[in-house]
Symmetry: C2
Subunit: 257 residues, 2 copies
Amino acid sequence: MAVWGVVNQKGGVGKTTTAVNVASSLAQLGKRVLLIDCDPQGNATTGFGLEKSSLQATLADVLEEAVESPDSSTVLEQSLHPIGDSLWVIPATLDLAGSEPLLMNAVGKEVILRETLAKIQDRFDWVMLDAPPSLGLLTINVLAASDRVLVPLQCEFYALEGLSQLMKTIEMVRRRINPNLDIAQVLLTMHDGRNRLTQQVADEVVAFFGDKVSSIVIPRNVRLSEAPSFGKPAVELFPDSRGATAYADFVREVMAS
Amino acid sequence: MAVWGVVNQKGGVGKTTTAVNVASSLAQLGKRVLLIDCDPQGNATTGFGLEKSSLQATLADVLEEAVESPDSSTVLEQSLHPIGDSLWVIPATLDLAGSEPLLMNAVGKEVILRETLAKIQDRFDWVMLDAPPSLGLLTINVLAASDRVLVPLQCEFYALEGLSQLMKTIEMVRRRINPNLDIAQVLLTMHDGRNRLTQQVADEVVAFFGDKVSSIVIPRNVRLSEAPSFGKPAVELFPDSRGATAYADFVREVMAS
Ligand SMILES: Nc1ncnc2c1ncn2[C@@H]1O[C@H](COP(=O)(O)OP(=O)(O)OP(=O)(O)O)[C@@H](O)[C@H]1O
Ligand SMILES: Nc1ncnc2c1ncn2[C@@H]1O[C@H](COP(=O)(O)OP(=O)(O)OP(=O)(O)O)[C@@H](O)[C@H]1O
Ligand SMILES: [Mg+2]
Ligand SMILES: [Mg+2]
């Protein structure tokens, strides 16, 4: 089971759009995929059309079960919402904002999510974790539970600024909590080739990360931002759009390596 | 002294761009303006060209002084970095991420920033607070310290989803901590008139907020995202650009009402 955390503390860079479309593309290729929405905003939950008011159990419930009765997995089972044949989602609602204080006081507060994933180890080929725009305890849990980090990066000046901090945080987690953790890919998102700034930032990112920067670039494409209002990933709803084909190409590149 | 919090927990909607350009426009009109960067990412600090490694004191230092020695304002004085004749910035670095745990244990943890602002009450006409993309304790401090909330809103589906939660949080702060708090304006940002989704979302926002939605709309304009790499607000660097003139028009509308 490969576990990928989609992480970048800069807001609005395409984390959720990437997690949702990559998970869906992997499922279309027949992989058994689990997406966990680790952001209290719950955008990935909405992106898959799940109705927040009628969820069986959410990640907040799962984390509570993990902290209070670590040997039980009743709530965890209830939280796995099927989306089609080969994809499941553990959804999030605003209740998840209340999990950080709960986790703060738990022993091993940084590895609760990792422990939870170990319980369902053999049921999935891939797990995608969509992180919130911060480097707080939820994101640390994501990094501790991940084998690889996928960093969506908008080619903008402010987005570049946060990269070195993200690297430091990943390094700390690797040193103290998760020695396997590594950056798998940096994925340039909302790329607009006509814009000089985009190219300048892209050049700097390649200089910083070398071959970790995917050769596939996700263009700015309105279909990607329209799809969530229909509750389906763009790779399903608009498979021929520039945005969807870029995500499908990216997943093929990932599978090949 | 008018205190405006620029708040929206959705990431990347233009909070920092709005705070920086509105503050700069107000200063150009001769107002004495203070901008406080309340986001550990420190983008507003960079947007004004302040070098993070050579700051006298940051918001994290100010909050620490406020918690540990409430009667002192030595650090607060050091934290006021002048930018031109009529604008000052209290900067932020990543250390601010460490302030939430510090605030958590303080008595009156939600009103520490408000108490700090009271010390400099008569020196400024306007204070702009740039909030991080979350509804945690830093953002609650911003809401508790503000007279008005300015909500930048990207015309996208995910951004719409977070609005009702933001309203609930504002309502709670108004009821329990800050009875004066009210939404001053909702400002539509990165608006692209050619895009059908933009128009649909804009219509929903107007239906939800009525006349609180500013008649000025900030267009998507590359000059706004280029300016931070020069360390100056776009209203200074590219005053004739579509983005800068929209912010200048918005400030004139605000001053008129
Ligand atoms: N390539 C793209 N082209 C056009 N729009 C995009 C693209 N990728 C994402 N978007 C839109 O941009 C906005 C931000 O993307 P998204 O919400 O996925 O970012 P995020 O990093 O998850 O944000 P947050 O930090 O709030 O979690 C969304 O409205 C989304 O629909
Ligand atoms: N009207 C606009 N046109 C084009 N680009 C814009 C516009 N407003 C903001 N941007 C760019 O979009 C990105 C997001 O804006 P900004 O950082 O101001 O949002 P934010 O809400 O402060 O983000 P965060 O949630 O991370 O604090 C930045 O790179 C910024 O330069
Ligand atoms: Mg997201
Ligand atoms: Mg910001």
